[in-house]
Symmetry: D2
Subunit: 229 residues, 4 copies
């Protein structure tokens, strides 16, 4: 790597980093002429092949937009996937921390997860956890969400701590995704496996909102057990 | 009512109708001076009268915006409520039509409802019906949604026709609502009562999108049976 | 006024304040039954009274949405007007501060205005001031904007300080307004009058963006002298 | 090229086309293993090859989102550029048609351009043409825009037909671009050259809105002569 970092677009495309030395080397190897704004184009566009002869293929050249600065806060598919990946990773982390450090460590991790991944600091979150019912079905504020994930809260007596259940792996299949400005919705199956290899599958809907700070947070989360028929 | 209808804002505020005679009467009774653009102001403001003196208090006068034309396609709370009200009314209509005209009439009504209330003509809909499971959990296209509502489709053998179950009344409690541009999300309890007075309660999340044509359509619908604990 | 302030919706409707005593009085005078959530309804609805009988007509009653919490970050007409009003007021304030406190005071005020009213802390601003040209036509960053408003910057030698020109009054006519989610666009004539009663009229386009913090900021500003023909 | 076209995402990324044979060749040359959905990944990712070793570096591999269907109506940079390119091309086309077919042909072309490229069929357009002033500064409706482009309208006596001026080439420099959901704003210099090689440069702001139909239309257009200083 090395070289001077190339200033990224403002908030463009989820923050991939390029280094000037990398691109300069590529230019040299391809005998391409540097142009003042092509560093930007590389972020979203460019395919390079060097089969036998260093042919530059600018597949999407006609779609490149030039501007001194581009502000773009639209949510991207990469960010949605990152948020979905992160949710499961966080759940397993809480589970791991519970085993290694007990409820205090689990609660600290869960609080950090909720602070970072959910939008509770910006308003209500539309959250219906899988195993919550009755008067406590919806966890609009962070205290309710925390109780669901790590239990041990007398105000939520039915909560046994969903994140404490020895989870070890996670994956998901989106049935469909809906992207609208700075917001995205996903719906699909989520599969969780615990350390006894018991799998739990739920129907899950997420709503993600990208903030002014470029961070993606969960503002909607409806999880339910599959209908048994 | 009577009088000449006042031209509404373009797409403003969900289409409440005011009549000039009504407002003129109000002006007279309040001894207020008519001004050229106050008809518009009435749409977004609250008028208070005090019993003794009939003093007009334009609480939000400083907030009125003047322009020859205002385009505004943002979704409003009134539109969200109208869409939520309409969903239950449509379900009962399909049920009524089934009793009076059999499956053909029910299917025709359900098709019309899906055409009007859901966004299937504009793309996929993220729909997880209450009583759908297995490979057919998600009804991304209209055929799947129609099968769920009126059954009688060999491709969806588990569907018994949710809208055919003699529904007679409907109400709902939103736990929280999230409005973002032309999109709104609601989460809460929905209560359905059939003609034997048996009540069904479900946890329901809706996502609504307002189209360029000013119509609000469901693009997300996750319904699930309450967790029994 | 008096009475206990009614907690506003989260970010709803630009922060109009109602006081419980005011609404209670209204209820009494109209013999209306108080209901638990109608305080909120008053924010978005229009009340009419008829002279004979003082009958409360809740014209838009069917459009009221109930929810424990409503998050709504859409920009409102009241907020757009407030932002337009504030722009002129700020310009005059800088002018006044220049007279009373010289360039240092003017610069401090202008900096505060730019910090609060423009979006420079969140990314580039598309700003073409009235009297800027050549290589310095566009003032994408705050330094360029500040130079335009108060001059005295060697890097912008043509800037004489637009806000230092003894402005005393301001008004505007919007030709049209376009509202789209958390963003609004206005286009129209802006009239500025200095203390010698000389009027300057410009063609002005603004783009406003409402942030996650509920504040409205200018992200686009194109101002130009009228075409003389 | 050749090979079977790869089905694009729904509305993703402005419709770049990839051909399977092309990507297969790339895979072979890089000795990479094909995976079922990486064709899509190529749309948003950057491939780098290193001269010695032909190692495929999928820089953003972790960002690919899988779903049966993805709805995404966000405006893309490619679409913004396409709309900016099209504007100049259309202007020159009207000019060409005027030379070859007179005012009737020019008017027909201009009408088609306005129907397709501007949002007049969906509401007001915030349009301030370069050479319009006085009472007719703003052309909120299509009739006013048409008059500006091709003149010959007694209701707009000052209009001489901006598109009839023998234009032969067009280019532009964006100073900044702002993307927000289905809307984008651009600001910069536009250069027009006529058939006598006389160049006209204007300061131009555009606002583009992507419709439900996936088409991008101009909803804001402020053009002004550079400030002479």
């Amino acid at each position: 790597m090395g070289g001077k970092p190339i200033p990224p677009h403002s908030r463009l495309n989820g923050g991939f980093n390029f280094y000037s030395s990398q691109i300069d080397k590529l230019r040299v190897s391809l005998n391409a002429t540097p142009r003042s704004h092509d560093r930007m184009k590389l972020l979203t566009k460019t395919l390079f092949t060097k089969q036998s002869g260093l042919v530059l293929v600018l597949l999407a050249a006609s779609g490149s937009l030039s501007a001194a600065q581009i502000a773009n806060n639209n949510i991207t598919e990469a960010e949605i996937k990152a948020a979905q990946d992160a949710w499961g990773k966080a759940l397993i982390q809480i589970s791991d921390d519970y085993r290694s450090g007990g409820i205090d460590k689990a609660r600290a991790t869960a609080t950090a997860v909720l602070d970072g991944a959910y939008g509770y600091h910006h308003g209500p979150v539309l959250f219906k956890p899988t195993l919550a019912g009755g008067e406590q079905t919806f966890r609009i504020n962070q205290a309710g969400a925390l109780a669901y994930f790590v239990g041990n809260n007398q105000a939520y007596p039915a909560d046994t701590g969903f994140a404490l259940k020895n989870w070890q792996s996670y994956n998901y299949d989106n049935a469909a995704v809906y992207i609208n400005g700075d917001m995205a919705l996903t719906m699909g199956k989520v599969h969780l496996t615990d350390r006894d290899n018991k799998q739990t599958t739920v129907d899950k809907t997420w709503g993600f909102k990208k903030g002014d700070d470029g961070k993606v947070r969960i503002v909607l989360h409806h999880s339910s057990l599959p209908y048994a028929g």
